[in-house]
């Protein structure tokens, strides 16, 4: 899993909370996305039915995962798609590099792919002297600014148009400063059109891989995805192994859930279904299509019946949009590729608890995410599960780094709490003592944190237990 490096979660959070503009941008953006989703699913009963269907379809896919991957591979191969398997991101990167070298391609044009972020592909290729060109507008913007995406679906959502104007003006040759969004988009179109026309290799992710027919399905609005997968000689598709579904008929309900949840659309501009490279009599399309199936810890996640549900995810981003924590700290604060609620459960499982277990603390378990997840991942339950794994009281942890948080001090606190709550006399004594202190409870530990923004809670002089006794409520 690599060396244990820590990321400064607390520092990130502090910085983000102080960044008024970031918080304003995020709040506005999340409100818009939440509203759009609400509008596109007007019938609550129908939505619940659809979610249940999505959950069942993805569960069925997980249930048959190895068989479906083999079927996918067989059909893809028969169609002329070359299938590669990568156990980890290093392997996946080498596969892509290999293809680039074989075609002597100095650059690759990229459609949006979270898996390629997981691979840190751009950085890897840059080290090999190969240029990776992001073509999704949001990714294009942040790439120019040497940033990573802050949201799964709208990667540049933390940026204002004046910031984009500055980035384009400063980083693109011969580009005047303009805040007009149409002009900014036209600038990006011009810059990238040349790249699409000249690229030898294009990269994409995969939204759904259909085992029944060996088909790769991609959704998008801009057209850059189709450009990357159609114009160059070579198309490389990278996907997490959990993205396979069994049948064509599984696709429409999942598509509806994905586009509705991600951007509030009934359907995206394009649904692109790729089944083979250019055939002999065709005039265009890539001459080679490669599919890289990436594991990177997913097979391990699959091994636990509860944690397995993490892999139901269809990467719609709606959990981020509804999360009261995400809207306040933004994607970068999470320090890893996948932010938000899904990031909180996925990252510790991929990176290990020592590195990323802290992410599971950044949740009040409010349940807003689980309520909207289109495939009904019980995200709060999985966050709680990862907290259990972090302490591993019962020595049953399956996630790497289980028990890393065990410490005597905290254990004693909870043992004390348990004792007080099991033995009525101790409970009474404790609450009476605290009650007697009134507003003079010492501001240490948790109380210190609490009182930064709140007054000390005033414990009552007589507890409910006492009052009940004194006021004659039956206490059998």
């Amino acid at each position: 899993m690599g060396t244990k490096t820590s990321f400064d979660f607390a520092g990130n959070i502090e910085g983000a909370l102080k960044d008024d503009q970031l918080r304003r941008n995020l709040r506005k953006a999340m409100d818009i996305l939440v509203e759009k989703r609400h509008t596109v699913f007007p019938d609550s009963n129908e939505l619940q039915q659809l979610r249940a269907a999505g959950n069942a379809i993805k569960r069925r896919a997980l249930q048959q995962l190895p068989q479906l991957l083999e079927q996918l591979e067989a059909n893809c191969t028969a169609n002329g798609i070359q299938v590669h398997w990568a156990e980890d991101t290093a392997q996946a990167n080498r596969i892509v590099l290999d293809i680039m070298r074989r075609h002597e391609a100095p650059a690759i044009v990229k459609g949006k792919s979270m898996v390629s972020e997981e691979m840190h592909l751009n950085h890897f290729l840059a080290e090999q002297g190969i240029e990776a060109v992001e073509t999704d507008l949001g990714e294009f913007i942040i790439q120019l600014n040497h940033e990573t995406p802050s949201h799964i679906i709208v990667p540049a959502i933390h940026k204002n148009k004046d910031e984009v104007a500055t980035i384009f003006h400063e980083k693109l040759a011969d580009t005047p400063y303009t805040e007009d969004v149409e002009e900014l988009t036209a600038i990006a179109r011009r810059a990238l059109r040349k790249r699409f026309a000249s690229a030898k290799v294009g990269l994409s992710g995969v939204n759904f891989a259909i085992a029944e027919t060996g088909t790769l399905l991609l959704v998008e609005n801009e057209g850059n995805g189709r450009m990357c997968t159609t114009a160059p000689d070579v198309h490389v598709a990278v996907m997490g192994l959990e993205k396979v579904v069994a049948k064509l008929s599984d696709v429409p309900p999942l598509l509806r859930l994905l586009t509705g949840s991600a951007t509030g659309q009934i359907i995206t501009t394009y649904v692109n279904m790729i089944t083979s490279p250019r055939k002999n009599d065709e005039q265009d399309g890539p001459k080679e299509v490669h599919l890289v199936i990436l594991d990177n810890g997913r097979s391990r996640i699959l091994a636990d019946p509860q944690l397995r549900e993490t892999l139901l995810c269809i990467r719609c981003g709606t959990c981020l949009n509804h999360c009261p924590v995400y809207v306040r700290i933004g994607g970068h604060a999470y320090g890893h590729v996948y932010p938000g609620p899904i990031g909180k459960i996925l990252t510790p499982q991929m990176e290990g608890l020592e590195r990323a277990g802290v992410l599971a603390t950044a949740s009040s378990l409010c349940g807003a995410c689980g309520e909207v997840c289109p495939v009904k991942i019980p995200i709060p339950d999985l966050i709680r599960r990862l907290r259990n794994e972090s302490y591993d009281q019962e020595q049953t942890a399956v996630v790497d780094g289980g028990g890393y948080k065990q410490n005597l001090a905290e254990t004693m606190v909870w043992r004390g709490w348990e004792l007080a709550n099991r033995v009525p006399a101790i409970h009474e004594m404790g609450t009476r003592l605290a009650g007697a202190m009134g507003k003079h409870l010492p501001k240490v530990g948790p109380l210190k944190q609490w009182t930064c923004v709140r007054n000390t809670p005033r414990l009552a002089r007589s507890t409910l237990h006492e009052r009940v006794r004194n006021e004659g409520v039956s206490h059998e």
Partner: protein, 252 residues
Amino acid sequence: MPPRTNGDQPNKVYFFGTCLMDAVYPDAGIAAIRLLQSQGVEVVFPPQQSCCGQPAYNSGFVKQARAVARTQIQAFAKPYPIVVPSGSCAGMMKHHYPDLFAGRKEEAAARRFAGRVYELFEYLVTVLKATFEDRGDPTTVTWHSSCHALREMNVVQHAKTLIAQLKNVTLVELARETECCGFGGTFAVKQPAISAAMVKDKVADIRRTGATTLLAGDCGCLMNITGAMAHDGVAVEGRHLAEFLWERTNGH
């Protein structure tokens, strides 16, 4: 979801006060008990009760959570309904006790216990079919629900039904009514900065309603929000709906 009933109108119920109500808001506890008694029901308060165990359960300390949960199950041994003035604690007992004891010898007992749990307003409205008459002066209130009351127990509708019965009470809803207040039990302590940001926004939302009273159904949220309001000198009073309801309808 059709209201659960016990067959005929029950004449005895258990009351689970919750640890926070016990220590911080006992008046609200007494008020809740009086509300139940006013409907002709005998309320039984087992003295061995303490905490539902949720703080430990949510923090990764399942062993301690289980031990404390066991105490509650044993304390509420008779087959009476268990009425809980908190959607959060009710949710813990109803939905998570079976998980806590899954595969263990107490599983059946935990399930039976969980099946008897009702949130207070749910019980008043759907089982007791209580109606109340407002004897107070005109006032404007706003309402905040705990996340578990909203999403796990689905009881906000019942709280609002009761508020709507009070003719002189005007309810102005929060702009972000369904957003978490940031309490989250140990979350407020483990991620204090984020929690603080959340409660500040909640307080700003409350101020914007112009209400003089914040009503809540959960002592955790109440403690969190009123603590923040007091810190910032916001002149809005926070009350548990049970206490408010009892006062309004009994002319205190």
